[in-house]
Symmetry: C2
Subunit: 281 residues, 2 copies
DNA sequence: GAAAAACTCTCCATCCACTAGAGAGTTTTG
DNA sequence: CAAAACTCTCTAGTGGATGGAGAGTTTTTC
């Protein structure tokens, strides 16, 4: 609390900045040392000046340039300081939100690779328990199974647009899926019902478009080519009939892309077609 | 999912990067467009390439230089990717922790200004309710009231050292305080007992040095000069006696500096000397 | 199907906030 | 009173962008 002057090196270490940086700040008028030895030119800082250095750090993080900071600090206006601090506080909240989203994205990427690595050969049939999931999507305006390639793209584009409107960021690296109603599926009428992304429950964006997909046993088939979906769905239906599984909910096509970072990836995506089943006892 | 190529502008917008940045990444081999028109030189990107762009962003945030990133991605090693992702995940956790600390620091700064602004004139006596607080500190090795200026500095330095050892960051902008035991205080023996910082309950660092200061009514006196502490403490004691307040706990000297960002601040700090009191009924 | 608007190309210069190092002088430590 | 550790100024260089000029290419619009 009492007079305590620090040479530049101590000041730098205490505040985790470099010595040249402190000199730069001196030059630009951001932080003048409390005392400069007139003979040697040595800079000496007051320990209290580190509050100012904190402030400079906050302001930098708010995107202000050094000259803007110098300008603002020269005004010596405490209300301005308060205003900047509360802006900083808001920014921190926003950053927390983003960091959370970032974390989710990285987790998804890791899981995606994991899954991709362990995905079975194409055509593999299975019966597996799948945990509850949340999906966010829109009804399909056109049936793209019967149509050409462009109708699917069109629907996909609509979804992307909606996602963007609803303030989803990181559209990519969400897995896309489509569904067919139970009724249509059991009748072999493969007519797309909805298109959606798999997401986690607590996502920003319009909640009304969010649906829950229940947990349970699913009959599944894995494919590695998108064009095989219709035939795969047929095989899945046959599989259920042969084994006398009761189809008890809507069919889903889950597009499981790996986290595609390499250009010449041998197998660029795979699908898991799935339908919830029950068993008579 | 199907072939869908984007020109550079769309790709840039979709991934929130600038066009020149994408060109730079192309040049440096971080992200080659899927297709380049041989006649026009126009770059066209595949929508799946944004996973790679995400990856580049993660790697940049991990502090890798562009050439390191190019190098790592050229290896086409998925385990390396996984490794980097999990490092990224750790980094995110660390950032969350830091952001929390940052938030606390900004809050403290704001409160500090608020308080400073509303602090009463020097010599003001008051009786006020003070909420419970947490302090973190060490016993005083020497009594600095009786000693010279340097003994206080020495103790302060010890505290700083301990703080650093215990992994406190942002040492500054914590408020410092000292205490005198109730017994000594009521006898007019102003012998410093402990020196500490005021902190919030959940701080990293050695928990054994953490103490709680109970809430309650406190008799207080405000001062704006550190050298007046001893006489102020005397005045506080007299004040309690005159009003027949029962001193029921240890005396504290709370150093309330504002958030000192300006060099020529008229009043650079103030103290609130305080002692918990009760009243006979 | 022509004109206008919006993109995109390459190449070069510029920016900011630092960092690095040379060469000389100054404190602090033992 | 050396040796070690700081500090000074000054110049140059860094990475990762950003900006503009001038020419060419798509896309949109009427």
């Amino acid at each position: 609390m009492r007079e305590e002057l620090l040479p530049i090196g101590k000041m730098a270490k205490l505040n985790r900045v470099s010595i040249p940086t402190l000199r730069l700040y001196d030059e630009k008028g951001l932080l003048k040392p409390r005392y400069i030895d007139p003979d040697t030119g040595y800079r000496y800082y007051d320990i209290n000046q580190n509050a100012r250095l904190d402030m400079i750090a906050y302001m930098k993080e708010l995107g202000m340039s050094l000259s803007e900071i110098a300008h603002a600090l020269q005004k010596e206006d405490i209300t301005l300081v308060e205003e900047i601090l509360s802006r900083k506080n808001e920014q921190i909240h926003e950053q927390m939100r983003q960091l959370k989203a970032r974390h989710d994205a990285v987790e998804r990427a890791i899981m995606s690779i994991e899954r991709y690595r362990k995905s079975p050969a194409t055509g593999t049939l299975s019966l597996e328990y799948i945990d509850r999931r949340f999906v966010w999507g829109i009804p399909c305006s056109t049936n793209f199974y019967s149509g050409d390639i462009h109708s699917y793209e069109k629907v996909l584009r609509e979804l992307r647009l909606k996602l963007e409107e609803s303030g989803f960021q990181q559209i990519h690296s969400y897995n896309i899926g489509t569904s067919i109603t139970r009724e249509n599926f059991v009748n072999g009428q493969f007519v797309a019902n909805r298109i959606f992304i798999f997401t986690n429950r607590h996502t920003s964006g319009d909640q009304s478009a969010m649906h829950m997909v229940d947990s349970g046993m699913y009959a599944c088939i894995y494919l590695d080519n998108y064009d095989d979906e219709v035939s795969g769905a047929g095989m899945l239906l046959d599989y259920c009939r042969e084994n006398q599984y009761q189809i008890c909910g809507d069919y889903l096509c889950e597009v499981m892309t790996g986290f595609q970072v390499f250009d010449n990836d041998p197998r660029r995506m795979f699908l898991r077609l799935q339908v919830p089943v029950s068993f008579e006892k």
